[in-house]
Symmetry: C2
Subunit: 306 residues, 2 copies
């Protein structure tokens, strides 16, 4: 009964193993396909790439560290601004000011707290909401998408395409975009948001996308929702303070976490996709055989020590 209670619902390999250890199995168990963990464990080292310390941000919260990977493929001017703001320690003493359920968590400096912006530009002329797809690799998914003609992955990030030469980073869970006011080009990178719900893909091609959370996402998604308009907190006490946001390259090596990401053009990643498209674990009586780009895991791990 104890095992049943703890295992009930959505059993994965970990739980099946626990049950096997504590109960006498009345029938032989059907062979289980390799789990996601096993696929990754047996992958060649060459299928992984280290995160670039110049494109990795550490957001230090009272509850722990959030690690963000920046991508310069889609909105390079905005990413350059984010990098400059981090170098200037712009977000020291900033705060999470907004948590709107099934939508976004957003952070920035609060009213009346100007701060050194370093080499960051005051505004960015080009919208950078999409870009030509030429010169970008593309691991394409075979399944349809509600919003884009083609979907897949490029250089470790999700990518959508219109089939007519344009590509953009979609608003998947964990994607980070640049907040802006109503007029386009008003976002300078000082206010950022991360998707914490069902992918709000209607925002695609309407905001500049700079990266994604690769570790510590739960520290941004598990926050109390704001009760003001758009999920803004109504009182300063509700905000989560941000101690700092730093480029990994500005942090002493001993304080870095050396992560590597699975290459999205690797054979291992293809195996990951197929294992998620067609769930062969015995739990699944009706494997779907399809997947949405935003449901494909983008694995990241601490670099193995040799």
């Amino acid at each position: 009964m104890r095992v049943q209670t703890m295992c009930a619902a959505l059993v994965l390999a970990a739980c099946a193993n626990a049950a096997a250890q504590t109960a006498v199995a009345p029938h032989p168990q059907p062979a289980q396909p390799p789990s996601l963990a096993e696929i990754l464990e047996h992958s060649p080292a060459s299928d992984w790439r280290p995160l670039d310390p110049d494109s990795t941000l550490y957001m230090e919260l009272p509850t722990g560290r959030v690690v963000i990977e920046l991508s310069s493929d889609f909105s390079p001017e905005h990413v350059a601004n984010v990098r400059a703001l981090a170098r200037a320690h712009y977000w020291d003493g900033a705060a999470i000011t907004r948590v709107q359920d099934n939508y976004v968590t957003q952070w920035g400096r609060v009213e009346g707290s100007p701060h050194d912006r370093g080499a960051a530009r005051a505004n960015i002329a080009a919208p950078e909401y999409d870009r030509p797809d030429r010169d970008l690799p593309f691991t394409r998914l075979p399944d349809p998408d509600s919003y884009a003609r083609q979907t897949g992955f490029t250089n470790g990030f999700w990518a959508a395409r219109d089939g007519a030469g344009k590509t953009w980073m979609p608003h998947c869970y964990g994607a980070i975009g640049v907040g802006r006011d109503n007029p386009p080009n008003t976002g300078d990178g000082s206010e950022l948001y991360v998707v914490i719900g069902q992918a709000p893909r209607h925002l695609d091609r309407n905001l500049a996308m700079v990266g994604r959370v690769v570790q510590g996402m739960d520290l941004l998604s598990g926050l109390k929702r704001g009760t003001g308009a758009l999920g803004f907190y109504e009182t300063p006490a509700e905000r989560t303070p941000i101690n700092s946001i730093r480029l990994a390259s500005d942090v002493p090596e001993a304080q870095r976490v050396n992560l590597e990401a699975l290459r999205t053009d690797s054979a291992t990643f293809q195996a990951v996709i197929e294992s998620r498209r067609f769930r062969r674990e015995s739990f699944f009586v009706n494997p779907t055989g399809h997947i949405n780009m935003c449901n494909v895991p983008l694995p990241v791990r601490v670099m193995p020590t040799h």
Copy 2:
């Protein structure tokens, strides 16, 4: 600057109005289309239906009330069990035992706490993972879906169809399913979960779906994530206690919240869909013209007093 900070990112009508009130507009603003709130405000009363007190659950948490609407269209035997368990006060003193990021929040009775199950059956023979689509209304969306041939809405809930006669309730944000162990038919309704992230549609047709959260979703989604396997809390102190789960019909009328839901076969709901498919607010420079079923709001409101 204050307005800019509070409005930055994903500006909606509320914020545009705030800006208009506090700044001298240098140019005439383009006409804004009716907002979602305006569409609902001008809808005829006949486009709404009251929630049935026999199909409405109140989950009372220390932080407030979560309101759940049950649907008997997809898994009637499981819903009957859930109703029987609520009538027997089965969940008094139960707890939220699992919060897995970007996946589910789950609740049930914890180990070693048997409780009266009333008229609930010990197990349910039929899986109830899908059903024939005949005799169910269907408001179909025109856009493709990654997982199902057809998607849309029936009697206030999301519905997916295979185009060959079967339909099921998909795992959209806020959908509630019946936890089970590895063998099918082991879920009896005593452990329930709600989707709190990107729709995990690979679970579709693999679990019995009983309803959705219509109010208080933030009380289930904004919880600290569990650090054990599958997001289970590792210590009892981390669990959120459940004071009770009651059918609205078992609660004195003075303690009920009289909600009504927009009919998904109404003209107003069609207007809601179109307003979300093609966002005409001036914020959107690239309206997508598409939508996914899980991104369509299913409006619920307190019944107007006449």
